[in-house]
């Protein structure tokens, strides 16, 4: 079991109070040593030994069939320190934040706000107030659309998106466009799934008030050139939102390099709990944005006539927030901080290239998106297998314990652009290894064998004929 200096207990100690690191329990001290800022890194990375940190990797899917988890782009597995941090809150100090004056509530508030600080540093934000906890990327983008877009965008304004976007960075803008009379523009992709910068330039004009773009395609693994996108957007006076739901898993994210206005991500794709995510926004935007939800915590004073808003970020955190989950996301930052980020990145790139090579050598397999041996891209590989619908493939692969995604992956416009109704997707995470890729390849070959056309047999004659109809 390999863990950071802060997490020295064994998994079997999960229910032990002593097992919980003090910093997660409420102290704000100690995390400095982990160097968890953007580009900051621990000293080591060993993809094999860290697998022991993820208990779900040890389970069998069917009797005697181990799990090969290649669906981390949908949701990632959680390591022990994250599980423990969440469980410790529930066991040891399950109290509300920003409310009570008793010990448990104070401890919960410290832990919650400490998580916010660590997350701010993780993405290079110096102002902790710029980190708003949400339910996830989807809510974060909706918050920007409803609140910022609702106040600052109007008829004639344009929002520029790309064909790489997940539905969560498309549908909120469609809803806002209908309500506010906006026009949506779309930058195309090239045939190999890279962002078409010429198309982007053609769509960009002074009418574009916001460019909203993914940091990594959840279908093709494409990493759009954020530097160039931001520079071009700034040239036109447009604000920039980066959907980092996938990107933050696969690349270090720094909100100052390039400088973005809004950045969104979810904890559960980053080895954290479900139900919590982050909106980063520049303070001037948060100050100017009206709250989206009204209720407790987001107000300073209320009388029967009205209310005065709380300061940012709490103005946007109405009601009891996902406290345990936010603390769990803080534990993710500590967990990842122990690793050498460059070594982590190198592992993923190497594995992505290996998977690309192995899969491309399989008969009847067509890989989608840019070739990782030619351009940098995330370890998200979508593909088609000749004669096999992705849903059949996913079900057959599951028989071998191999978990992949099948369908349109919440990116129907991109599939339409590629001329595909659906695809299969294998996504790689820091705990995957070459053996996972080999098991995927073997399972694909078995699926092809299972679904082969059965040997021809004499065709039985139809039992009933209808002279009045054509021959089907």
């Amino acid at each position: 079991m390999k863990e950071g200096a802060m997490f020295t207990e064994s998994p079997s100690d999960i229910n032990s109070r002593e097992a919980i690191p003090a910093s997660v329990g409420g102290s704000t001290g100690g995390e400095e040593a982990l160097g968890c800022g953007p580009g900051g890194s621990g000293t080591s990375f060993d993809a094999e030994s860290l697998r022991a940190d993820f208990p779900a990797l040890e389970r069998e899917i069917h009797s005697g069939v181990p799990l090969t988890y290649l669906d981390s782009a949908a949701t990632a597995m959680k390591p022990w320190p994250v599980i423990r941090a969440v469980r410790e809150y529930d066991i040891d100090y399950p109290a509300s934040v920003h409310r009570g004056l008793h010990s448990l509530s104070e401890r919960a508030t410290l832990a919650y706000e400490s998580a916010r600080e660590r997350i701010a540093r993780f993405i290079g934000a110096t102002d902790t107030a710029c980190i708003v906890f949400t339910r996830g990327t989807t809510e974060s983008i909706n918050l920007v659309a409803r609140s910022w877009g609702g106040r600052f965008l109007g008829p004639g304004d344009e929002v520029l998106l790309t064909l790489l976007e997940h539905h969560s960075n498309l549908v909120p803008w469609q809803m806002l466009a209908r309500e506010r009379g906006l026009t949506l523009k779309f930058a195309d992709v090239t045939d190999d799934g890279q962002l078409d910068l010429e198309s982007f330039d053609r769509q960009l004009s002074d009418r574009v008030r916001l460019v909203a773009v993914t940091a990594a395609s959840n279908v093709l693994g494409t990493i759009p050139p954020l530097d160039q996108i931001v520079a071009r957007a700034r040239g036109c006076g447009a604000k920039v939102l980066v959907d980092a739901a996938q990107g933050i898993v696969h690349r270090p994210i720094d909100i100052e390099a390039p400088s973005v206005d809004f950045l969104t991500f979810s904890a559960h794709k980053l080895y954290g709990p479900t139900g919590v995510g982050v909106l980063y926004a520049r303070r001037e935007h948060l100050e100017a944005m009206p709250p989206m939800l009204g209720g407790g915590n987001m107000v300073l004073r209320v009388d029967l006539e009205g209310a005065g808003w709380n300061d940012v970020p709490w103005k946007f955190e109405a009601g009891t927030p996902p406290i345990a989950q936010a603390i769990g996301l803080g534990a993710v930052v500590d967990y990842l901080g122990q690793f050498d980020r460059l070594a982590m990145l190198a592992h993923e790139e190497e594995l992505t290239q290996y998977a690309w090579r192995v899969l491309s050598e399989l008969e009847g397999v067509r890989l989608l998106g840019p070739d990782p041996r030619e351009v940098g891209r995330a370890g998200i590989i979508s593909f088609l297998v000749e004669q096999i619908h992705p849903h059949d493939l996913a079900q057959l692969l599951d028989r071998d314990g191999v978990a992949i995604r099948a369908g349109h992956h919440c990116a129907m416009p991109l599939h339409h652009r590629l001329g595909l109704p659906a695809s299969a997707r294998a996504s790689l995470a820091l705990y995957n290894n070459a053996a996972d890729v080999d098991r995927l390849a073997g399972a694909i070959e078995r699926a092809r064998w299972t679904l082969r056309r059965p040997p021809a047999r004499p065709k039985p004659s139809l039992t009933r004929t209808h002279p009045e109809v054509g021959n089907g």
Binding site: H167, H389, P390, H391, D392, Q395, L396, D398, R399, A406, G407, H408, H409, C410, M412, L420, P421, A422, T450, L451, R452, R453, P454, R457, K459, L462, R464, H466, E468, V469, G470, N471, G472
Partner: protein
């Protein structure tokens, strides 16, 4: 379960499906797709005297389950009184496959049945839904 699902009888029907094709002059037809996975089924019916379905054909593309269920359904419909076809429950169609389906695949299995409902103008309210099958199609 998967072995039963993808057994030889099913695969023969997938690759060489009885009743796949089009009618020259269908009396009723409907085409539906499942946006979730791109499965597409067109169902055509010829009605004879006495209110019976005399011929049924399907066409389309998609996963094994959607296509094979459509083939079974088209065969099953031939000779059936229209009134009976209107009342055909969804789980009967899945029963024709001879296996149980996971919730996610039920939507594949009943696509042809939904096309039948449309072809015969059965409204959602009057459709017989069998035993607790979720007919909603959502998309992520």
């Amino acid at each position: 379960m998967d072995d039963l699902l993808y057994r030889e009888e099913i695969l023969e029907r997938y690759y060489d499906a009885p009743r796949r094709g089009r009618l020259e002059a269908p009396d009723r037809s409907a085409e539906l797709d499942n946006p979730l996975c791109g499965d597409r089924i067109r169902l055509e019916l010829a009605l004879g005297t006495g209110g019976r379905i005399v011929a049924a054909r399907f066409d389309g593309d998609g996963c094994v389950i959607s296509q094979v269920a459509a083939s079974f359904l088209a065969e099953h419909l031939e000779g059936m009184p229209v009134d009976e076809a209107r009342r055909l429950p969804a789980d009967k169609v899945i029963g024709l496959l001879g296996i149980s389906l996971s919730p996610a695949r039920v939507k594949c299995g009943i696509l042809a049945w939904r096309a039948l409902q449309h072809a015969l103008d059965v409204t959602a309210d009057s459709a017989t839904n069998g035993s607790g099958i979720d007919l909603s199609i959502s998309t992520g």
